[in-house]
């Protein structure tokens, strides 16, 4: 029995595996499987029932067992290992030297479908993707009842195999995009994909881009919308988001749930987000430009108030702004990292430190606090966390230029950011492309 022996050797360092002699009906067999992945009792029950039903169909014992699952060649260690690791059970029939991989009842290792935790929805469909790729695929199919939905499944990685599903609508997707993605999957099959940087490397996407090539969403509703707009969707196993390729500028301003409101509200929500983007990018730069380079553009009353609020502040405007921005970024990062029970504490401490103590200690001017608070709030109006990070980064470019060249710097910073945003392409599709030629 070379395969059984080989399996024992292969899993010598893994105590999780069991080799349990047992019977199906009257046939003596050995069950082989991983304790952590499958529920043995249920699986046994199911197998017995199945065997009982198929009793008359086969001539001998081995034939009956073959009816229960897929048989594995005695020399094929690799597919046996894969079956075990993916949660199947192997039934070994000693007399006929037959190995059969049967579907097993899996242990509940996945949470059930829950509400989205990173993208709140008000008055809209509320189920969100979770870690199980099949659940996610099912949710998309539930949402999109179409025979045009194509699903291509890949398992990639040499060390750890990851399942990836590629979804697209046959009559909508950009053919060039599709061939490019499929081509990359075929040629880079051996690369491990445990995180999105590795996925980017596999797809040959730039790794230093300041704008993410994917739109991430945990809402099936949004995913379907993107599919209908001709984008391709990747579902990764153990990853509770759909990755939509390619990203576009519009995804920063539009949320699908907007369309569940009357048009007027949709429009105003989106305008508000646009204002939020501009406010976040420009406000800190504008403060520095106006305070240290071009105070003449302020009305005199305003100029006096600003001068008053900065009285006794030891640092130049740029340093002052950078210090406070640094603290703000730390608060933001900390509140992501913190357990939910401590979250309110940091908010309170941050609020008191930033709002009160810093001002009364005359380290920064209170006007700056107002401006940065407004800018930070504005940042969260942007749809999609990844998009808001890009915008957070661009703010610093504009801030530096504004500190050197004032209003002119603010303007050239905007030009620079616009130029960069326009230059970004994913698989040849520009990030700034807003309208798409409709197909079919």
């Amino acid at each position: 029995m070379p395969l059984l022996h080989e399996l024992k050797l292969r899993f010598a360092s893994d105590d999780d595996i069991f080799f349990q002699p047992d019977h199906i009906l009257h046939i003596p067999v050995v069950f082989i499987g991983l304790t952590s992945l499958l529920d043995l009792i249920q699986t046994k029950e199911r197998l017995t029932k199945d065997a009982f039903a198929k009793q008359g169909l086969a001539a001998d014992d081995a034939g009956l067992l073959r009816q229960l699952g897929e048989s594995i060649d005695t020399g094929d260690l690799r597919s046996a290992v894969t079956s075990l690791l993916s949660g199947k059970m192997i039934v070994f029939h000693k007399p006929s030297e037959t190995f059969i991989a049967v579907e097993a009842a899996s242990k509940p290792l996945t949470r059930s479908v829950e509400e989205p935790s990173d993208e709140s929805v008000i008055h809209g469909p509320r189920s969100a993707f979770n870690e199980d790729i099949d659940t996610n695929l099912g949710m998309v199919k539930r949402q999109l009842n179409s025979d045009k939905l194509a699903v291509k499944s890949y398992a990639v990685g040499a060390n750890s195999r990851t399942r990836i599903n590629l979804l697209y609508l046959e009559n909508q997707v950009e053919p060039a995009l599709l061939t490019a993605i499929i081509g990359r999957f075929e040629s880079n099959k051996e690369l491990d994909v445990c995180n999105l940087q590795q996925l980017s490397r596999m797809l040959g996407l730039p790794s230093w881009a300041a704008i993410s090539p994917y739109i991430r969403t945990e809402l099936p509703q949004d995913t379907v919308h993107y599919l209908m707009r001709g984008k391709a969707v990747l579902l990764l196993d153990r990853f509770p988001c759909a990755l939509v390729l390619p990203n576009d500028l519009w995804s920063m301003l539009a949320v699908q749930n907007d369309l569940n409101y009357p048009r007027l509200f949709t429009l105003s929500f989106r305008l508000l987000r646009l204002a939020g983007v501009l406010c976040h990018i420009l406000a800190p730069g504008l403060y520095v430009a106006v305070v240290s380079v071009n105070p003449e553009i302020l009305r005199i009353e305003m100029a006096l108030t600003v001068a008053q609020s900065r009285l006794g502040v030891p640092y130049p405007a740029l340093v002052e702004t950078l210090i406070l921005l640094f603290v703000l970024e730390m608060v933001m990062e900390a509140s992501v990292r913190l357990p939910k029970s401590i979250g309110p504490t940091i908010t309170m401490v941050g609020g008191i430190i930033l709002g009160q103590a810093v001002v009364s200690a005359k380290l920064v001017s209170n006007l700056l606090i107002i401006i940065l608070a407004a800018a930070t709030i504005a940042n969260f109006t942007i749809s999609g966390f990844v998009n808001s990070i890009s915008i957070r980064l661009f703010k610093y470019v504009i801030l530096l230029l504004a500190a050197f060249y004032g209003i002119l710097g603010l303007l050239s910073g905007m030009v620079l950011v616009c130029a960069y945003v326009s230059s970004v392409t994913t698989f040849g599709i520009p990030y700034a492309q807003l309208a798409r030629k409709s197909r079919g």
Binding site: S292, V293, E301, L304
Partner: protein, 359 residues
Amino acid sequence: MIKVMRRLCRILLLLAAVPLLHGCWDNKDINHRSLPLVMGIAKQQDKYRIYLQIPSSDPQNPQMKVVAESGRTVTEAVDRISMNMESQVDLLHLKVILVEKHFAQEGMADIIEGFIRARDISPKAKLVICNESLERFFENMKTAIAGNQTILCDFFDKNAGWNPSIAQTHIWETFRSIHSYTRDVIAPIIQTGKDTIIENVGSAIIKNGKMVDRINPNETLLYYAFKGASTQGKIEVLDHASVLIVNNTVSHHGKIVNSKPLLRSTIRLKVSVLETRGDPTMASIRQELEEIEAKRFAKLFKKMQLKEADILGVGQYFRTDLSRSELSHWRSVYLPKAELQLTIKAIIQNNGNLKTTGM
């Protein structure tokens, strides 16, 4: 990885050059600048005496600061002030340029040109003539105001204290008038008042940067009526009523007849009755209004012709009829013999909340 590092190094190198190359290391924050609002200019012998009114940004001590210094040029005096102050004097916010009357009568074309040439003074600053010595004016101002530091700016601000009886002329308009053949300007004349802080005592006619005569506030209102900007101005109609101008439109048409310029103008005033004395009819108020305005206008026009200063810009309507060389004699030759046919049409739009009979 090495490629990335090399690229990173290159970017860092470029970034390191930024602080050296931007050339703005002398940017000063707003709290380290003094932002004077008013500049007073007087001339003593051949030296300028410059006064700067600087609002204080200290909330504990909102006293208006006035500093003065003399110099052969305006810049020299400002430089001296800047040298002796704890912060840098920044003229970008200068709103009002107050010129002493004697200096205005001497002619101020030089400093107006200097202001236009200098980049740090806004051409939108207003030119104002002071009827008394600046020393006294600022002394009175200092004792009069405690909290409000922008009082002089507010006085001339369209959104605050301005009304069409106060002339309003920017530096750039004065500069334009110096170089134009066909246009002169008026500038307001102020002094410290007895009850109010500032008192408007009429306007100066400024010809080529020199004050040649003055007109009273009523005539200033007419000036704005001719420009179509007298809305909100109030007119007393003889002893019978006073009216508020609620709308003002004008049309002008100029042509040369027998080498004499003839300007036909129509001024339409929509007015609202504010007060009446006795029991005048609407018709009589309207008629009196038209007559009194026409009379005042004729007087203003005469004064203009006498001083050869075209404050109404009448010459503008003949620029297409005269050659460039003829235009250069506009003030001296054509203006004195110009004829103005003025029609004033008043419409009493409403008579307030009371009914008056005899429309």
